[in-house]
């Protein structure tokens, strides 16, 4: 590996100071390192200074309040997220996504913040956050700001973060009443693979059993994770039927802009989006007592 320096600030202020004094040097935040360390090893990324963020208390928070919703600190590893009973109860798709990242060894280190900041189109924890309309909480020596997570990504590996900014965490609003959600991804093996396509779906029903809110988000089928708004529109205001779910799947494809690579072709990815959209919707509906498949 190419040499770099390492620092582990214990307070947010220290971290900000380090970022402020970067002076042209590349400072790389390090959370679980499951992306960063390999990228540094193979030379895909360079660093002058690696700043470990796991000792900053603000970034290791995982908190919930019925009105505030969920706050996931950027450094919180996946296993803490999916083992959390609150997450499992209120945000099933977020649990699904965190459970899918790599192996147990990876999940003990990999953070949601790292998954977000790495900004891979295939990031498994992102579509679940998008269906809950999560907000990225960003900070730096120049102050703090909030950006809807959907607008956080600007391209593969690209985000709105300035060089002197870090992600502090994501705020996830409380789930709508009578709702459930799921995330599924397709990979050739059963584990240890990067999504060929992934879909998170959230449905909320009103008292009459009509879809009050639908949110669908996709991974690995566009330069960034995306919402599938046409598909959402098809569902909202309707009573769920098998045919409706199929239609939603077809509409979800409109939001895709995939590439062909070693993991799959454009056409195949689109087909998978249809299938996964239908399957995630019916899983979520099944949680709400409506079985369609």
């Amino acid at each position: 590996m190419r040499p770099f320096e390492y620092v582990a600030p214990k307070r947010l202020r220290e971290a900000y100071a380090i970022l402020a004094q970067a002076d042209g040097r590349t400072v790389r935040p390090l959370a679980g390192g499951t992306d960063l360390i390999d990228q540094l090893r193979v030379g895909r990324k360079r660093a002058d200074l690696v700043m470990d963020v796991k000792h900053i208390p603000e970034l290791m928070r995982l908190e919930w309040g019925p009105r505030k919703g969920l706050y996931i600190g950027a450094g919180v590893p996946c296993y803490r997220v999916y083992k959390d009973p609150v997450v499992a109860q209120h945000y099933p798709a977020i649990r699904d996504g965190a459970m899918l990242v790599g192996s147990w060894q990876i999940q003990h280190r990999a953070s949601l913040g790292g998954n977000i900041c790495n900004a891979a189109p295939s990031a498994d924890t992102v579509p679940p956050l998008l269906v809950y309309e999560a907000i990225a909480h960003i900070g730096g020596p120049r102050g703090e700001r909030e950006v809807p997570l959907e607008r956080f990504f600007t391209g593969p590996g690209q985000t709105v973060l300035a060089p002197d900014e870090i992600l502090l965490g994501v705020r996830v609003p409380p789930p709508p009443p009578r709702s459930s959600s799921h995330y599924l991804r397709f990979i050739p093996r059963e584990e240890m693979d990067i999504a060929v396509a992934g879909v998170a779906s959230l449905v909320a029903l009103d008292s009459r059993g009509v879809v009050a809110r639908a949110r669908i988000a996709l991974s690995a089928v566009a330069p960034t994770p995306v919402r599938a708004r046409d598909a959402e529109a098809v569902l909202e205001g309707q009573r769920p039927t098998p045919a409706l779910l199929v239609e939603a799947g077809e509409k979800a494809v409109l939001a895709t802009n995939p590439i062909t690579d070693v993991r799959g072709s454009i056409a195949y990815r689109k087909e998978l989006v249809k299938v996964l959209t239908r399957r995630t919707l019916s899983k979520a509906l099944a949680d709400l007592g409506i079985t369609l498949e």
Binding site: M1, R2, P3, F4, E5, Y6, A8, L30, G32, G33, T34, I37, D38, L40, R41, V42, R46, D48, V50, D52, K54, Y79, G102, S103, W104, Q105, I106, H108, R109, E190, E191, M192
Partner: protein, 166 residues
């Protein structure tokens, strides 16, 4: 023209950690992985490197009670940590039941993957003493073995869970 940061080659940073119950203080290169530090600085070569990027699990160790790929941990991150490697599994000359079961069930051939599997299995049984076959397979999905086809590994772990090997 190279941009290799030659000026940083001599950087070192101090790490204190407890490895298999023994306290250590060592000077590591900041970019050194924990895997390299264990192997090169402490001579604990039982932990193996099969891929260097988190895919094979040969480098699995327990760090503060949790399995991690030591190839994806920087040595300085382990400052203050408690580490368990394969060399620390046997206690007072007594093999861990998992070690015994791996021998008895033929759960290893070349043995290159074995240290990683033992630690993943150790963690699984710590978390879930009565796993199903599927749960065992899930727990070791981050460990590749090219020799055994996993069959005997799964059987060995299940045998320990059932208390058949002690």
């Amino acid at each position: 023209m190279t941009t290799f940061p030659l000026d940083k080659l001599s950087l070192r940073t101090q790490v204190r950690m407890k490895v298999n119950g023994e306290p250590h203080v060592l000077l590591v290169k900041p970019w050194q992985t924990l895997l390299e530090a264990l192997r090169e600085e402490l001579g604990l070569t039982g932990t193996k490197e099969g891929c260097g990027n988190g895919n094979c699990g040969c480098c699995t160790i327990l760090m503060n009670g949790k399995t991690v790929n030591s190839c994806l941990v920087l040595a300085p991150e382990a400052d203050g940590a408690e580490i368990l490697t394969v060399e620390g599994l046997a206690q007072n000359g007594r093999l861990d039941p998992l070690q015994k079961a791996f021998i008895q069930y033929g759960a290893l051939q070349c043995g290159f993957c074995t240290p990683g599997f033992l630690l993943s299995a150790k963690y699984l049984l710590q978390e879930n003493p009565n796993p199903t076959e599927h749960q065992v397979r899930l727990a070791i999905a981050g460990n590749l073995c090219r020799c055994t086809g996993y069959d005997k590994i799964v059987r060995a772990i299940l045998a320990v869970a059932r208390g058949e090997v002690q």
